[in-house]
């Protein structure tokens, strides 16, 4: 069973540029990583004999809303800033947990997919794409999962506004 610091040290010595820092915020500390190297980091986490993270518990997208709020066509839009993805990992054999976080720029959020490493990420990543617009590179089947296939916009972003009409039906009531 390893603590967060030990895991962070193990990761840092292997991937110095991919792994950035260990943020000790309440309640769960997390390790920030590079979005385009997350898949190699994940493979290392899963296969290294001291780590053995074989279970991806949850993968969630978060809108950091740390950009500038501007008014575009009368609607409040956020420009700049990042969208993040949080990964909560667990090892069923060694009984330790860790949280990873990657951040991608809001205008073109691209994160490497880990669905080939942990297949449970498949649908979670589709949901993050659907609700936030985060593109997962090398995902086998990236399309909308909860919203209708022809919906426009990404609902869970902080600057999301409902469209006026959808297929001829007036949306706001």
């Amino acid at each position: 069973m390893k603590s967060a610091e030990e895991i962070f040290n193990l990761l840092k010595e292997k991937y110095n540029d991919g792994v950035k820092e260990l943020v000790k915020q309440p309640i769960d500390a997390y390790i920030t990583c590079d979005p385009l190297l997350i898949n190699v980091i994940s493979l290392f986490l899963m296969t290294h004999e001291d780590l053995l993270f074989d279970n991806l518990m949850i993968l969630s997208g978060v809108d950091d809303a740390n950009g500038k709020t501007v008014l575009v066509d009368g609607l409040k839009t956020i420009e700049g800033g990042t969208l993040s993805v949080y990964y909560h990992l667990e090892s069923t054999k060694l009984r330790h947990k860790i949280v990873l976080r990657v951040s991608a720029p809001r205008e073109n959020p691209e994160v490497e997919s880990v669905s080939l490493i942990w297949h449970s990420a498949d649908w979670h990543e589709r949901e993050a794409f659907d609700l936030f617009g985060i593109k997962f590179l090398n995902h086998p089947d990236l399309r909308r999962i909860l919203m209708p296939d022809d919906w426009e916009g990404h609902p869970l972003r902080k600057d999301y506004a409902n469209p006026e009409f959808y297929l001829g039906i007036k949306v706001p009531y």
């Binding site: 309640i27 769960d28 074989d54 991806l56 518990m57 949850i58 978060v62 809108d63 909860l146 869970l156």
Partner: protein, 371 residues
């Protein structure tokens, strides 16, 4: 000369008696053999996560009920555990014991629905009605406690909404005595029925490595032979004070990890739940259940991930707080959402009738899949 055959695409559409809700399964068939199954979900999406960002923490509790509406106490319990972890609250022991009793009663009720509807899908209509008759007793217990039979708004972060009714302990003990022979009856009627075994053994075999990699939890994972239960492996509340066993699948009538094993794990889990309820009723301390409920929930900036063992698997809440009275982001890890992703792997090279058997053994509730 070879006959040109085409694969047929069959839609087990959103409206179907056996898909347990609005789920669309697109089957690509070659005769009666399945080549590919694609589940399409989102028909019951009610924007729970976006909605939570506009409400305060206590206001979210009734909405958590409505995700997995067949195991509502479990949903509330998970949310309460997550918020209390974020706040660092200390709870009176009476609250913890009552929460455990409610969660285990809910587990029995939910498994009865799963077993009854599974039998009805396979064709045996009678166990369905027997299961629902027994479930009525559990729902009566819930009704005298908080007034509602299905969606309770009972477990609040920091405590409970009402204390137990004065008759509750007596009625709960009577239920435990009433229920044990009913499990035996269900086993005689359905579990050991030769036709039922033929329909479910060796069907939809889930190997253990695949299960862990796909994030499967709950009776599905235990059916594949792995003793993993959040109540024992990552204990929350007062579960470490009880003595109970974790049933796993043994491949008794086929291979380990087939549909019969998952069904059998659910039946045996009901027996274990009765044990836990009896122990909790014996150990129930006195106290005030509403004393620790905070007047205003305003956590520090941070995030937490807390999970509970719901009847369908591991229910997790990822709550991010930005220091205000509303959460910044709540993400719910619904067990049915993750378990449903494995349908394609399980259904390969089975027949159309097996899809029903496999879907019944996955035991999904669309409210949780779509949120």
């Amino acid at each position: 000369m070879a006959i040109k055959t085409e694969e047929m695409v069959l839609n087990m559409g959103p409206q179907h008696p056996s898909t347990h809700g609005v789920l669309r399964l697109e089957l690509v068939l070659e005769g009666e053999i399945i080549q590919k199954v694609t589940p399409h979900i989102g028909y019951l999406h009610r924007c729970f996560e976006k909605h939570c960002e506009a409400m305060t923490y206590p206001q979210i509790v009734p909405y958590t009920d409505r995700m997995d509406y067949l195991a509502a106490m479990g949903n509330e319990f998970g949310y309460a555990v997550a918020v209390e972890k974020l706040l660092g609250l200390e709870l009176p022991p009476r609250v913890e014991y009552i929460r455990v009793i409610m969660a285990e009663l809910q587990r029995i009720a939910s498994h009865l629905v799963a077993i009854g509807t599974y039998g009805a899908d396979i064709g045996a209509m009678t166990p369905f009605l027997f299961a629902f008759r027994d479930r009525e007793v559990v729902l009566n217990l819930f009704e005298i406690t908080c007034g509602a039979r299905m969606l309770y708004n009972y477990i609040w972060p920091g405590g409970l909404s009402h204390d137990l009714h004065p008759d509750f302990v007596r009625l709960a003990r009577e239920f435990c005595v009433y229920f044990k022979p009913k499990i035996v009856e269900m086993n005689n009627l359905l579990s050991t029925n030769r036709i039922f075994i033929e329909r479910t053994a060796n069907v939809g075999v889930l190997p253990l490595e695949t299960a862990i990699n796909y994030g499967i939890t709950g009776p599905m994972l235990r059916g594949s032979g792995f003793k993993w239960d959040i109540r024992k492996d990552d204990p929350y509340s007062v579960y470490d004070k009880f003595d109970f066993d974790i049933p796993v699948g043994t491949g008794k009538h086929g291979t380990v990890g087939d549909c019969w094993d998952r069904y059998d794990v659910r039946i045996r889990e009901m027996e274990e739940s009765v044990k836990i309820i009896e122990q909790a009723l014996d150990q129930l301390p006195e106290g005030n259940v509403t004393s620790a409920i905070p007047k205003r929930i305003k956590p520090v900036v941070g995030s937490v991930y807390a999970r509970v063992e719901n009847p369908r698997g591991e229910l997790g809440y990822f709550i991010m707080s930005n220091g205000t009275t509303s959460p910044y982001r709540i993400k719910v890890r619904g067990p049915s959402f993750v378990n449903l992703g494995i349908m394609d792997v399980l259904c390969k090279n089975h027949m159309v009738a097996d899809v029903i058997a496999i879907l019944g053994s996955v035991d999904i509730v669309l409210g949780e899949v779509d949120r």
